[in-house]
Symmetry: C2
Amino acid sequence: MAKKYVYTFGNNKAEGNAQMKNLLGGKGANLAEMCLLSLPVPAGFTISTECCTDYYENNCTLPQSLLKEVEDGLHQIEDIMGAKYGDKENPLLVSCRSGARISMPGMMDTVLNIGLCKDTIPGLIKQTNNPRFVYDSYRRLIMMYADVVMEKAEGIAPVQGKGIRKILDDTLDSYKKQRNYKSDTELTEDDLKFLAENFKSIIKKELSVDFPDNAQEQLLGGIKAVFKSWNGDKAVSYRRIEKIPDNWGTAVNVQSMVFGNMGEDSATGVAFTRNPATGENKFYGEWLINAQGEDVVAGIRTPNPLNDETKNDHNKNLASLQESMPNIYKELCDIRQRLEDNYHDMLDIEFTIQHKKLYMLQCRVGKRTGIAAVQMAMNMLDEGLIDEKTAVLRIKVDQLEELLHPILDANDEKKYKPIASGLPAGPGGTFGKIALTSLEAIRLTQNKENSILVREETNPEDVEGMRAASGLLTARGGMTSHAALVARGWGKCCIVGSEGIEIDLDKKTVKIGGKEFKEGDVISLNGIKGLVYQGEIKMSGSPTENPLFKRFMSIVDKYPTIGVETNADNPDDVKQALNFGAKGIGLFRIEHMFYGKNSEAPLAVLRKMILSKTTQEREKYLNELLPYMKDSVKSTLKLMDGKPVTIRLMDPPLHEFVPHTEDKQILLAKELNITLADLQERIENLKEVNPMMGLRGVRLGIVYPEISRLQFKALFEAEAEVRKEGKNNPCLEIMIPLTITIDELKHQRKICDEVHREVEKAMNCSIEYKYGTMIEVPRATLVADEIAKAVDFFSFGTNDLTQMTLGFSRDDVNSIILAYTKNKILINDPFQTIDQQGVGQLVRMAIEKGRKANKDLRIGVCGEHGGDSESVKFFYNAGVDYVSCSPFRVPIARLAAAQIAIESK
Amino acid sequence: MAKKYVYTFGNNKAEGNAQMKNLLGGKGANLAEMCLLSLPVPAGFTISTECCTDYYENNCTLPQSLLKEVEDGLHQIEDIMGAKYGDKENPLLVSCRSGARISMPGMMDTVLNIGLCKDTIPGLIKQTNNPRFVYDSYRRLIMMYADVVMEKAEGIAPVQGKGIRKILDDTLDSYKKQRNYKSDTELTEDDLKFLAENFKSIIKKELSVDFPDNAQEQLLGGIKAVFKSWNGDKAVSYRRIEKIPDNWGTAVNVQSMVFGNMGEDSATGVAFTRNPATGENKFYGEWLINAQGEDVVAGIRTPNPLNDETKNDHNKNLASLQESMPNIYKELCDIRQRLEDNYHDMLDIEFTIQHKKLYMLQCRVGKRTGIAAVQMAMNMLDEGLIDEKTAVLRIKVDQLEELLHPILDANDEKKYKPIASGLPAGPGGTFGKIALTSLEAIRLTQNKENSILVREETNPEDVEGMRAASGLLTARGGMTSHAALVARGWGKCCIVGSEGIEIDLDKKTVKIGGKEFKEGDVISLNGIKGLVYQGEIKMSGSPTENPLFKRFMSIVDKYPTIGVETNADNPDDVKQALNFGAKGIGLFRIEHMFYGKNSEAPLAVLRKMILSKTTQEREKYLNELLPYMKDSVKSTLKLMDGKPVTIRLMDPPLHEFVPHTEDKQILLAKELNITLADLQERIENLKEVNPMMGLRGVRLGIVYPEISRLQFKALFEAEAEVRKEGKNNPCLEIMIPLTITIDELKHQRKICDEVHREVEKAMNCSIEYKYGTMIEVPRATLVADEIAKAVDFFSFGTNDLTQMTLGFSRDDVNSIILAYTKNKILINDPFQTIDQQGVGQLVRMAIEKGRKANKDLRIGVCGEHGGDSESVKFFYNAGVDYVSCSPFRVPIARLAAAQIAIESK
C-alpha cells in the first residue's frame, strides 16, 4: 500500500490534529486542530513532510501516488466550499503554503491565487462581480508564480541579469509612472488586464517558456515550489542558526483562498492572544483593511491597531478592528479564548475577513520575549491555565537569558534625551555603531565591536546581519513585522517603525530624528520603551532584583536536581554568583589573582618566581607570594560562608606572565639581579610549541614540588585563620589539574599531607579538606577507575577535554569550526555545547568507572559547558552531582537542570 | 603455617632448581640447578625474594620465622662441609650474596668471610695452617662489614665526612707507605693482625659502636645488608634504566666460603661457554691465581687467559689455566659441556680453585652482543641444541638492533691509523667528544652531542654516564670487567683494557697511545676490532649485506604474523626499507617532498600557495605544484612495484614553510607581487597558539577544498601514468589525516570521486585506489564504528594519539617525561613504548568498533610505536593487520611480530 501523504481539513472535521506537527508541519497540524475546535477555517489539505523527504530522496520528483490523493483532496475542498477547481463557472482558488515542524517565518515560499487562468477568470468575475479584483489577483499570481515556481523552483534564469520578479516589478513601476499613479489602488481593471498580458509575454521572452495558464499545472508547480524552497538559501541559513535538521522537510498546505482584499468590507490581520513583548494578558494585534495577509507581515504599511490595548503613538489615529467591525472583533475575542483554553498557551493567529466573514488562516504558539515568557507563565499559573511544572518547562533557557541580558543603566539613561522612538519589539538595551547593511554589521561583529543594524525594513536576506548585530532599528513595520519577529525570537534588542529614519546608502549616512549620522557613529537603544539615543549609554542591570525573575527561580528550585555551582575567582564574581543562587564555587582558579585589579604586586613576585633558576630562588619568591594567596582564598572562604570552595592549583600559561617588552625586561632583570641576556634566555626557555599540552597543571607541581607546597600552605593557613575567626565552617576542596594518572595524585598528596600536618601543628587547630582532581585529559577518563581511588571528587574540565579529544586548539580553530558547521560536518560548536558522541562518551565512561571504584565519589563539571542548557541536560543524564559555570550562567544552569529533572520523571 | 623462606642446596641435592628464578633469584636458582647436575658447588642456602618483599613491607625487619630456618640451613651446610659455624675448633665461614630475578651485576652488596671473629680465628688457623691468610681474611671482613653492613645498611655515619671504607683504606695505605710496602702481599701476619685491631678501634671511634666480633650477629647483619642494598642508589638507578620493577626484591645466597686466595694452588676465574662478543663456539674466560673472585671482575689486575683461544695481545704472555692446571681445565671443559646440554644456551660461570679443588660459584645465561646472540643462535641451531622457534625467540630485539647499528665506514677507516687498541668489548663503531666523567658525558648527550666516556676503569657509580655516552673506552679491565658487561648488555660500542691511557682529571686531559687529548676532543672507536682513532671517522654499514642477518631474518619470516610496512617518503628510504623486508609503504607523507634534497623548487611554489589569499591565487600555485607531486608519487609507486603505497594527504605545519628572515620575505613578496607588509600580515595570520591542534590534516582540505583536489589529481595521474607504462600494478591507498568524524571523510570523498572520474576520463584508463583514514585524534577512536563505514582502512597515528590522549606536546614535554619517569609516575616514555593503559585502551576500542562496523576493514599502525618491540606485541594482541615504521626499525618490527606470534601459539 502506498504511503498516505494527504490529510484533509474543513467543515469542523480534520484528519490531523495539533499533535501531528512532525508529519503535517506546525501550520497544517494547527489548521486541523482549529477545524476540530469548530473555528471558521477555509477547507484544504496538508501534504505531509514525509512527502517532502521522499521528494528529495527521489531526485526532486513528486511521488506518483500523490497525484491521486491531491485530486481526492481537491474534491473534498470543492464539496465544502461549493466551488470547483479549474471550473469555468464557479472556480475554486487555492493557496500553497509551506509549514515545517518548527516555524521558519518568511524563510520558505508561498504561492497564492492558484487556479486563476484564462479559463477561470470569467467564472470568478461572475461570482465576485469584481473584475478589477480578479485581474489584480491574476497579475499577482503571475508575478509570484514566475518568481517562485518558474525561476526559483524550476531554475529557469531570465535572459537579463536580474531576477524575473525585479523585471516585472520594474515594468509595473514604469507603467504607474507613465500614468502618474502613486499607488497600486489607482490601477484600473484595464490596466491590470493589460499588465497581466504584458507580464506573460515578458515571461515568455525572458524565460523562454509560457506562464502555465492552466489550473492543473499551476497546482503541481506550486506544490513543488514549496518543497523546493525548503532548500533555498534563506531557509538553509536559518536552519543553521536555529539548528533545525535538514532532513525534517516541510509540509505543503493547499487551502481554499479567501480574500481580505475584496473591498472595504474585507480585511486581514495578525494577532497574539497576549502581548508578546511584555506578557500582559491583553489581546494584541494589527490589521489592514482591504489587504492580503502578506501586507501586514511585510511591514510595508503601518497597520491599524486591533483594539484599544494595541494603540500606541504610531497607530493611535488609525481605526481599530474593535471600532470598525465590533461583531467580528467579538467573534475573534471568543476564538482567542477557545484557543488559549485548548492550547494553554499564548497563540499567534492570522485571520482574514472576506465580505464581513471571518476566516482563521493560521494559529501557532506565539514567539515572545524572555520577559514576556516568564510573565505569561506566572500569569497562566495564577489563572490556573498551567501548573508549576509546565511553567518551569515553558521557559526556554535563552528566554531566561534575556532577563539576564543587560539593559541600559537607568541613571545614565536619564542624562540623555531620546532622539527618536519606535515600537519596543525586542528586549533589553544596547548600544553600538550604526551599520546600514548586514555585511557591515557582520564585519563589526567580527572585529568584536557592537553594531546596531539600521534599515528601512528588514527582509529574510538580512538574517545573518540581524544575527550579528547587537541591536536592530527599522523605519517601518509593526510589532509583527519580520524584524520584530526575528529579534524577539532571538531575544535581541530591537525597535521597529521608528518614523523619520532616512537612509542614504550611497553616502552611508542616516537621518534619525532629523539628525544626520554617519555609518559607524554610536547610538543606544532602549528596547523596552522603544527609545533611541545618540552616543553610548552605560549598560546596567542586575536581574536579581527583578521580582518576576525571583518568583520564577523560586519555583524552579522546587524541583530537586543536580547542584549548580560557579566558577569565580574574585569577590565581585563570588557575590554575583551567590545572588544568582550558586550553591558553591566549583572552580576557583588560583592564578586569576594575577589578573585584573590589585594584581600588580603579586604579579611582580610571580614573575620572579617563574623566572627563578634554582629551587632556593624559587622558594624565596613563593614565600613572598604566600600572603597574597592566603588573603585571596580567605576572603573567598568567608564570602562563601560554609559552602564548598573548590580551589584549583595554579595552572598558568607561564609564558603569559613574563614581560615581553624590553624596557620591562630591563627593569625585571635589575630586580632579579641578573643580566638582561640571562633574563631573556630564561624567558626564551619558557616558550613552548604547544603550550596547551606543555608544562601546566599538576606537571608544574611535579617538576617543581615547591610550587605545590607553597599553595597547600596558603590554603591550609587560610582555612585555619578563617576557622579561628570562628565565623563559619570553611569548606575547602583542593583540586589538582591536568591529571593523567593516579601516581601524579599520590605524588602531590604526599606533599599535601606533609604541609597539612605542619600547618595543623603550627596553627594548633584541625583543618579539614577534600582532595580531588580535574578530569580534563582524555587519558584521565580512560583510567578514571584508578584515579577515583585517590580522590574525593572529580571535576570534568570539559574545555580542555574537548580540545584534546577533538584536537581543537580553542585559540586557533574558530575559522575551522565555522567551516565545519557551514559544511554540516559539525552541528554545534563543541566548545559551546558538549560533543555528546565524542567527549560525552569519555565523560560517561569516566563517571561509570569512577563510581564503580569509589562509590562516594562526588562528580562535577567546571568547563564552560556547565552553563549551556543542552550540555547541562546531558550531564544530568550522565549522572554528575553538580555543574559549575560562570556567575551569569548560574540561573540558566539551574533552569536547565530543573527542566531535565522534570522531564526525566 | 609460616612461609618457607629458606631453600638449601649442596651435595648434589637442592630444594630449588633453575626454573625457580622468581623466588630464588637467578643466582640461587642456578646454584640449585648446578647441584642437581652434580657439579661441585659449595653447600649453602638461598633466602627467597619473597622474604625481601616481606622485609620491606614489615618496615625493614626480618620475619621472625626466618631465624629458625636459617639455623636449620646452617646445620645442613655444616653437615655437608664438615665444619661448624662459629665453632672454635673447625669453624665454617660463609658469604652473603644478592641475587635478583634478573642479573644486576655489581649493583647490590656482598659480604664475604662471615663467621670470622676472635673466637673462630684460632680454629681456622689450625685448620688452614696459614695464619697470614686468616688475618688477611679477617681484616677484609672488617673493612667490608663496616662499609656494607654498618654504614650503608644500618645507616651509621662516620664522624669524619668521608665514608668508613675510605677511612680504612687510607689507614691501610699509610701503613703500607710507612713500611715502604708496594703491594698488599708484602703485609705480614703481624701487620694484618695489627691492622685488624686498629680497624676495630677506628670503627668504634668513628661509628660509636663495636664491630660485631661474633659469628651469629655477623650473619644476620650480612643478610639484612643484602636486602637493604636492593634499595641502594645504584640498584634503583639501574632498575630504572632496565625497567625492573621495584617490588621484585632480591634473594640472599648464604654459601660456604671457598678461597681462591689460599696460595699458589688456589685461583679464581670467570668464563663464558662461548665467546660473548662474537658468538664463536669457543670456551672463553679469564682467571687469576691466588685471588678472590671480586679481583677478576673488578678489573684491577689484568687477568690471565683461560686457554689458547682466549689469548690476545694483552694477555698472551700470561699463563693460561689450560697450561697451569690442565686437569682442572679439563674438569671445567666437561662442566661447560654439561651446562650447555642442560641449559641449551651460552652460560657465564664463576669458579674458584681452593688447594687444587674446583668449585662452581655461579652460572647464569651469559650476556652477549647482538652479533654474538645471532651467531650463537645459528650455531646452536646447526648443532641441534635448539630449534628454529627457540632461535627466533632467543634474540632480543635490541640485540638485533645492534646488528643494525652503524659501524665505522670501512673505506674511511682505512685512511686513519689507530692510535691505541684494547679489547673489543662492545659492538659496532662510533665517534664522539672525550668525556672524562659521567657528568660530562651526560651533559654532552643533553646537548645532543656524541660523547666517548674515557675512564681508568668504570664502576657502578658510572652507570648513568655510561648510558649517556655513545661509546666507552677504559684503561683497565678485561672482557668480563664491569664496563664490558654493562656495555655489552646495552649493545654499546666499548673498548676496555686499552693500555697507555693516562687520565689527568685536574687538567682535564688524557693521554691515549702517548698522545695528549683535551676533554672535548673527538675520537672514534671500532668496537669490533678494539681500535681507537683520533678524529671523527665516517659511519657506515648496511646490515642487509650481512649473511648472518639475512639467514636469521629468513627464519624469522617462517612464522606468519602481522605485516610490517614502512614509513618512507623518498627513494633512498624506500630502497632501504625494501632491503629490510618492508611489505609496503604504510605512510608516505606527501609534504616530505618539501624537505631535504631537490626540495627548493617545489618549496618555493608551496610557500606561494600557503600565502595565497584567494582561491584563485591558491589554485594557480597548486597547479604549479602538481608535476612535482606527481613525479614524487610516481617514482615511489614504481619502486614499490605492486606493493601497497599509502599516501597521506598533506599535513604540514603551514607556518614552518614560510620564510622567517626579512630578506627572504622581501624576495617572496616581490615574487607574489605584494608588499612586504602584506606578506608579513599573511605570515602572521598563519601563526597558531597550539599548531598541533590547529589548521592541519583534513581540516586543511575542508577549509581549502582545492588543496585536496589538487592532491587527488596528482595521485590519480601518477597512478594512471605508471599503469600506462605497464611495468607493474600500482597499489595506491589514499589516507586522510586527523579525522574526527565520518562527515569529514564524506566531504573529502566527494571531491576525490569527482577527480577520480575526471582523471579516468582524461587519461582514458581505469584507476583503482583504496580510501582510508588516520586514527590519531581521540575522538576518532570513540566514533570508529561510524568512521569505519566510510573507509577501506584505518591507520593508527599513535604519535599524535599519544600527544592528545596524554596532553603531551612532544616538542615540549621531554623534561616533564624525565621528571615523571624519575618519580615513577610513568614507567616508559609513552612516545617510545605505547601507553597500553591509556592510548592502548583507545586503540583496542577503535579496532573493536571498526571491525564490528566493517568486517573488511584493514587496520594498521603508522606511528613510531610501530617500530618498538613491546608496542608491536601489544598491537599484535590488539588485532592490527600491520605495523609501519621507519626503514631501520623494519627488522625489529619483523622480529617482534614473529616472536609474539610464536609466543601466542
